[in-house]
């Protein structure tokens, strides 16, 4: 053990990403924010006596954690096994479709309605805590941290709202650090904030394609695999193109981040779905090869490669697209917010 090494206790909340992760730990006199990138960890320390405020703001956080991805993979494998079994079209297929729909619905609901951003302020810094991104985690985090900070600093008595009215919390703004040079030109006023909207022709097209594609996949589930395959591909290509265009428009500052998040979720779900279907096909071919005790793969055995057009996979893709399309409609119907300079 290293000499003088601190003992840390983990605080509620952990962000588990495929590459990046984050967590917050409590030491003897400070909080330690750990941001990890698989082979490297970065640390930020916030001493108890320096923490001025902790702010939690409700926000949408569409984060796919490794745990959520594992659940998705399990669902994909279960679907693959169901496709291979005789019960698939009758019982398992619809049941798994419903489970998949529920899983996506729960994830979207949690990400949109039960998520938050948590930020910690000291006199010289303000830092996001990426590991605290669900409201219940934020409650538990505050419940664990608040008594310790109160013990270290004491509690504010009286009407503190008045006391902080003429005081800046957090690090000073950049403009206030530099002294004003005599004779220098007056600083330019800040540019007016760009009006971001969710309604552009591209976003309307994207949402329309999601809804129409999802409906088409679900309504034609009983159609032949080949026809279903072409129906799905016919919608998938414009959906992908529109998702990329939505991200470009957001990068240009013309579209709200919520619509960009929807595009990211769509692209991620298409990737996961395609990977799951291909994995299922690979398992099916391997299973058939093992059952026939024949090393040579016949054209008939390669049939699972066409799993994309099968009802279960089409139903799953259609359900996801329709759900995301409905989320997009909700975004389009939201009131436009024009930022004010007040």
């Amino acid at each position: 053990m290293e000499p003088g090494r601190q003992r840390y206790r983990k605080l509620p909340g952990q962000r588990r990403g495929f590459i990046f992760g984050s967590s917050v730990w409590m030491g003897s006199d400070h909080l330690l924010l750990v941001k990890s990138a698989r082979f490297r960890e970065e640390y930020r320390r916030f001493h108890f006596r320096d923490i001025q405020a902790i702010v939690t703001a409700k926000a949408q956080r569409f984060h796919i954690s490794t745990r959520a991805a594992l659940i998705g993979c399990l669902w994909g494998w279960a679907s693959a096994i169901a496709v291979l079994s005789a019960l698939a079209p009758k019982i398992l297929g619809p049941a798994l479709g419903l489970v998949g729909f529920l899983l996506v619905f729960v994830w979207v609901y949690q990400s949109a309605k039960c998520s938050c951003r948590c930020r910690i302020y000291t006199a010289v810094s303000s830092e996001d805590l990426p590991s605290v991104y669900r409201t219940w985690t934020a409650r538990r985090f505050l419940a664990a941290v608040e008594p310790v900070l109160t013990q270290a600093q004491g509690a504010i008595e009286g009407n503190w709202a008045e006391a902080v009215e003429d005081r800046e919390i957090g690090p000073p703004a950049a403009g206030r650090i530099a002294p004003r040079m005599p004779g220098a030109a007056a600083p330019l006023p800040p540019p007016p904030p760009a009006v971001q909207t969710a309604r552009t022709p591209i976003s309307l097209f994207f949402v329309a394609m999601l809804c129409l594609g999802g409906l088409a996949d679900l309504l034609t589930m009983r159609a032949g695999a080949k026809a279903g395959h072409w129906i799905m591909m016919g919608f998938l290509v414009p959906q992908l193109a529109a998702a990329v265009a939505v991200m470009v428009q957001n990068y240009q500052g013309r579209l709200r981040p919520a619509m960009r998040n929807l595009a990211i979720v769509f692209l991620a779900s298409v990737g996961i779905w395609y990977y799951s279907v291909q994995m299922a096909a690979a398992f099916a071919i391997a299973y058939q090869g093992a059952a026939s005790h024949d090393n040579k793969v016949t054209p008939a055995q390669l049939a699972p490669m066409d799993l994309i057009g099968y009802p279960v996979s089409r139903g799953a893709a259609g359900g996801i697209a329709l759900l995301l399309g409905l989320a997009g409609v909700a975004l389009l119907l939201q009131k436009e917010r024009v930022p004010s300079n007040v």
Binding site: M1, E2, P3, G4, R5, Q6, Y8, K10, W25, S28, D29, L32, V34, S36, R38, F39, R40, E41, E42, Y43, R44, R45, R49, D50, Q52, A53, I54, V55, T56, A57, K58, A59, Y121, T122, S126, A138, L142, E146, L149, T150, Q153, G154, A155, I156, W160, A161, A163, V164, E165, R167, E168, I169, G170, P171, P172, A173, R337, P339, S340, V342
Partner: protein, 182 residues
Amino acid sequence: MPLPKWEFLNGDAATCRFCGRRNTVRLFPAALAQTAAAHAETALDGEGACFDHPGKRAVAACRQCGRFVCQLCAVEFAGAVWCPSCVASSSGKARPANSDTFRTLYDTWALATPFALLMFWPATILSAPAVAALAIMKWKQPLSLVRRSRWRFVAGLAVALMQGGLWLWLIWYTVAKARSKA
């Protein structure tokens, strides 16, 4: 970015004017504390002076080396006062005062590499000894601040040794077979 003042309008809760979101603010006394700029006072005759600033009055002694430090030089950390040079060198007792801002996780390298390279298995002939060397050379390097176990090193070393053993067996088997044919 400082907190906007309007966040304190309604107790712990505030609604953002830009996005309409409801925020929860927990404020602590540090927000109200006056932060005066540190300045060292001039040392009078007979008073202890700072080691680095002989004209300034000493306010404390470094816990590591015992040198007197003035208000400017005193570095408070972990309930003690240190001088800047001890913090910079992070030797002895002052080691925890020099806080790492990042660490490379060699144990994760040692564990992940042999498994990741299984997908390109011929590369394991090179990676196996490399991982074994890495695990042995970096065994005493500090690990993550929050993880205490070295099991990743052990597991990575075990897998690397197994891969190396398999390669040695394969080479021995190939050579033996070639000899028997000859």
